[in-house]
């Protein structure tokens, strides 16, 4: 723990069981918010995402998307060129032209997001005005919204936050108080959404909806009798806007692992006055099955030491799951941003001696990592192979965002994602 001395102690805050939060500034080895498009465009099945940016933006999404090229993508980039930089008026004309070309080619698009980037932000191209302008013009064809996924404002999963926030903002305000409802907020794979839906139904919570919806015609129901439950820990702005419209957050850990899922469901059940005995009846067999499922991977995980490089803001709930349910020892949790309120319940569950670092200076973090010598490191694709070459086993963090990992049925899958590289290292060393 000597490497820790390098961390800026003056900026310490303390959370949970008196855990200090170190803040770090420097080179960040994290995607920008544009990357969220890769799962967002698949979740909202009639939406299209048009990045207004540079060739770098196009190249970034392409590099992050990789295999997606097999499908006809529902995202593209309007690449700004020299002429656009000459005058914003022209840039707006050009944008209108590109949008119309796009919609002619893809008339199936019912919702178009104009996605701001670093260059569009820096040149102050007003995409929300552009969206309004185009929305009016194309009123019978397509809804047009905007948000920013720029790297100067957003980190990786914050792109989803910005996107969902724009959806909340664009949804009609519901004045009168209607029936109490539960809104689950955050992109979830369909299979997970369906599982949760069945669970809520079994519990007796019938007025449940998921946000974002699968297509643009569905609007979120938010009013003063809305209880919302975050499915993802990175939705600060979305949550703020929901609360502005009267929604109340159900405070809970996140549904990773068996205990996390139970606590998450339990918080909703309590809020909806579900009888605790009924809750137990409904969840018991799932809990048992999931616990049994995880057991398979425990021999590989227990007492193994893990460090997280900052990536998706999932780091804290995942560290909690791995320490609480898999017996792993967490050395360092790097996270790009830490939302203390949303993560309150999670932080309580972390062991005392956890090192939490918000922000990143990748070089210094690598120094600490080499000094810590963890059994496994969770990091991005840029770092994974170099660390492996140094003899440090890695788990690529991006997969934790793309894989179905929430809920009971995926708890073991989540454990397996960490067990696999450890298992592999062992196999190949033998």
């Amino acid at each position: 723990m000597n490497a820790i001395v390098d961390l800026p102690v003056e900026q310490q805050h303390r959370v949970g069981k008196n855990i200090p939060i170190y803040k770090e500034r420097g080179q960040r080895e994290v995607f920008c918010g544009l990357t969220g498009i890769i799962w967002l465009h698949r979740k909202i099945q009639d939406a299209f995402f048009l990045v207004v940016g540079s060739r770098t933006c196009a190249h970034l999404i392409q590099s992050a998307a990789g295999v997606m090229i097999f499908a006809e993508p529902r995202f593209a980039t309007a690449i700004i060129d020299d002429r656009d930089l000459a005058g914003i008026a022209d840039a707006n004309d050009e944008l209108d032209r590109v949008v119309k070309t796009l919609l002619t080619r893809r008339p199936d698009i019912k919702m178009l997001f104009l996605v701001g980037s670093c260059p569009s932000e820096v040149i102050k191209l007003d995409l929300s005005r552009a969206a309004q302008r185009l929305s009016t013009e194309l009123i019978n064809q397509c809804r047009i919204l905007s948000y920013s996924g720029s790297g100067i404002e957003t980190t990786f999963t914050q792109g989803e936050d910005a996107c969902l926030a724009s959806l909340v903002q664009a949804s009609p305000k519901q004045a009168e108080v209607i029936e109490k409802n539960l809104l689950v907020v955050g992109c979830l794979p369909d299979v997970v959404e369906d599982q949760f839906h069945r669970l809520f139904t079994e519990l007796g919570i019938h007025n449940v909806s998921f946000f974002p919806p699968k297509n643009s015609a569905q609007k979120p129901e938010i009013h003063s009798n809305t209880q919302y439950l975050l499915a993802q820990p990175f939705l600060a702005e979305t949550a703020r806007l929901i609360e502005e419209r009267g929604g109340q957050r159900i405070s809970a850990p996140f549904p990773f692992g068996v205990d996390g899922t139970t606590a998450w469901l339990k918080a909703a059940a309590t809020s909806f006055g579900i009888d605790p005995t009924h809750f137990e009846t409904v969840t018991q067999s799932k809990i048992e099955r999931a616990k049994k499922s995880i057991e398979r991977y425990l021999p590989m995980l227990t007492n193994k030491r893990i460090s997280f490089f900052p990536d998706s803001q999932l780091e804290i709930p995942l560290a909690r799951f791995l320490s609480q349910e898999c017996g792993m020892q967490v050395l360092e949790i790097g996270t790009p941003y830490l939302h203390k309120q949303h993560l309150e319940c999670e932080l309580e569950l972390l062991p005392e001696n956890t090192r939490i670092v918000e922000g990143q200076d990748v070089e210094k973090q690598l120094d600490r990592c080499r000094s810590d010598k963890p059994d496994i490191v969770v990091c991005g694709l840029g770092l994974a192979n170099p660390l492996e070459a140094e003899g440090i086993t890695t788990k690529w963090s991006i997969e934790l965002v793309f894989s179905p990992v929430h809920g009971y049925e995926q708890a073991a899958d989540l454990a397996e994602l960490f067990a696999r590289p450890l298992n592999r290292s062992m196999k190949l060393a033998a």
Binding site: T56, F70, P73, I79, L85, G382, P386
Partner: protein
């Protein structure tokens, strides 16, 4: 603004990164916002690099924009120098930093580091990756190589000749190979081996695995091998103009070009190539000549890639494998002229574009038997159900195979033969299938097992609908009045013509259908009968 689904090239600073990452002691400080670090994964994941690229990103944020991003940049440069101790440094801006105009060159110079600091001016909103690589390589060389302006190129050349001892071998540098370059790792091994076996000393290979000190020594060699003109031509031209070092023009892809390359370097090195050429086995040539390759004759091939690889592939396809080149294009606008010239050899017009959709359209229109392209064209071909092999960057992890897989030299020619022929299914197998083409077990319903799930042509035109649309006719009549209507008439297949078409095996059926329909349109035939089918066959040949 340009609407872009996928791009062939990254921005120019990615080109600069490729130069920095290629070298062992050059560091790159890139003024850029968070997110631009994505580029690291190109090298560590696609190239499976064991080291991170030697790049420091300043990672400025929105809140810094009001403040002092210049200071942030200077701090990053200082810290990078302290931590990595490079022998030289390149500094520049990514697209966003270009807009905030912090002048990285000036800021870095102001730090007076004890190493060469080379500023890069790569206009992100105009230029692209290969241009960026070429510029960077050129500027790094210019900054590192000492030039005595009082000495002319001829004098430099004479000095080299004069200083030569009797036992000294002729020498050259190999310029152009980079990290993330298509098969550059193995091309270098192959060509270096080839040159050495000719008795030529290879002094410096750069930028791949070169150090700063290597670049300083570039002018010492007798000539340069410009292996990848997209990256090396600018530098080679300058070295030629300044130091009188001639450089090679032939890209040794394919057996014939390799032999021509041997002639070229032997001329530059004043050596006799005869023995070397005689010793070659030329296996690829024999494979192309062997009888199971006969079926390859005049297969229609569409070629797209960077200029050098596309031009070379067309030559090999046509002269060494016996294909018919029906399409040739490039995304390298810098070399558009060369590609246009090459296309004329095949009586076609070159496709110069970086619009992926335009390429897709062209492939769909030409319906070639084989596509030779980049990873983009692989995906296009997969969608269209056309066999494909990759011949050029942009690359994917598959393009960095574990095994030795050069594209150049004699072994490169072997690799090309195998790689291009494989998707067409190997010799005897395909050939025998071809012979059974009227076989009932290869029915209309049997899809080609070696292709993707996208059935060519057939699936787009479901038989049932068409057949149901016309009443069966006993003696099919043929309307041969060549009326050119304004609206292109959609052909209708008579039921028995459709049935006759079904007797043709799947791998030529699509072509037969297209030819017949084209023939019908051109001859104003609206109902396609068996006779139309055979008329078209007679017209177009097999």
């Amino acid at each position: 603004m340009q609407l872009t689904l996928w791009t062939y090239e990254g921005p120019p600073h990615i080109g600069a990164m490729r130069i920095a990452t290629s070298m062992t002691d050059l560091h790159y400080v890139l003024h850029s916002p968070q997110g631009d670090t994505y580029a690291d994964l190109l090298f560590t994941m696609i190239g499976r690099s064991k080291k991170r690229p030697p790049v420091t990103y300043t990672t400025f944020q929105a809140r810094d924009l009001g403040g002092d991003t210049a200071q942030l940049f200077q701090d990053s440069v200082s810290e990078a120098y302290r931590r990595f101790e490079p022998k030289a440094m390149i500094v520049g801006a990514s697209c966003t930093a270009e807009l905030i105009q912090d002048d990285p060159g000036g800021l870095a110079r102001a730090l007076s580091l004890p190493i060469p600091v080379i500023p890069l001016d790569l206009p992100s909103y105009q230029k692209k990756e290969n241009w960026g690589a070429s510029e960077t390589f050129y500027h790094v060389i210019r900054a590192l190589v000492a030039v005595d302006k009082s000495i002319s190129a001829e004098q430099y050349q004479e000095k080299r000749t004069a200083n030569k001892t009797d036992t000294q071998k002729p020498s050259c540098n190999i310029l152009g190979p980079t990290a993330l370059g298509f098969r550059n790792r193995d091309d270098v091994q192959e060509i270096k081996g080839l040159l050495e076996s000719l008795g030529i000393e290879v002094r410096v290979v750069a930028p791949l695995n070169a150090c700063v000190a290597d670049l300083v020594k570039l002018p010492q060699a007798d000539f340069n091998v410009s292996l990848y003109p997209e990256v090396s031509q600018l530098a080679c031209t300058w070295l030629s103009k300044t130091f009188g070092q001639p450089f090679t023009k032939i890209i040794p892809v394919g057996t014939k070009a390799t032999k021509a390359f041997i002639h070229e370097v032997c001329q530059l090195a004043q050596l006799d190539p005869t023995a070397m050429l005689a010793a070659q086995d030329e296996r690829a040539m024999w494979y192309a000549k062997s009888v199971d390759s006969t079926y390859l004759t005049d297969k229609r091939v569409f070629i797209f890639g960077d200029a050098s690889h596309a031009i070379a592939a067309a030559k090999v396809a046509s002269e060494e494998i016996g294909f018919k080149v029906v399409g040739l294009g490039t995304y390298s606008r810098e070399f558009a002229r060369e590609v246009r010239e090459a296309a004329k050899l095949y009586g076609i017009e070159a496709l110069i574009t970086d619009d992926y959709l335009e390429v897709e359209e062209k492939v769909a229109e030409l319906t070639p038997d084989l596509v030779l392209g980049t990873q983009m064209e692989r995906h296009i071909a997969k969608r269209l159900g056309v066999p494909c092999a990759v011949i050029s960057a942009p690359v994917h992890v598959q393009d960095f195979p574990a095994r030795y897989s050069p594209q150049m030299g004699f072994e490169g020619a072997n690799v090309l033969f195998d790689t291009w022929i494989h998707p067409l299914m190997m010799g005897l197998e395909e050939h025998l299938l071809m012979m059974f083409r009227d076989d009932f077990e290869f029915s209309a319903k049997a899809a080609p097992s070696h292709l993707g799930h996208a059935r060519p042509t057939e699936s787009e035109k479901p038989q049932e609908t068409k057949v149901a649309a016309v009443a069966p006719v006993d003696h099919p009549e043929q309307i041969s009045t060549a009326v050119l209507s304004d609206v292109e008439p959609e052909n209708t297949w008579e039921a028995d013509a459709e049935k006759e078409l079904g007797k043709i095996p799947f791998f030529v059926r699509g072509k037969a259908r297209r030819n017949t329909e084209k023939f019908a349109v051109e001859n104003g035939i609206s109902r396609i009968t068996i006779e139309t089918l055979y008329d078209a066959k007679a017209h177009y040949g097999r």
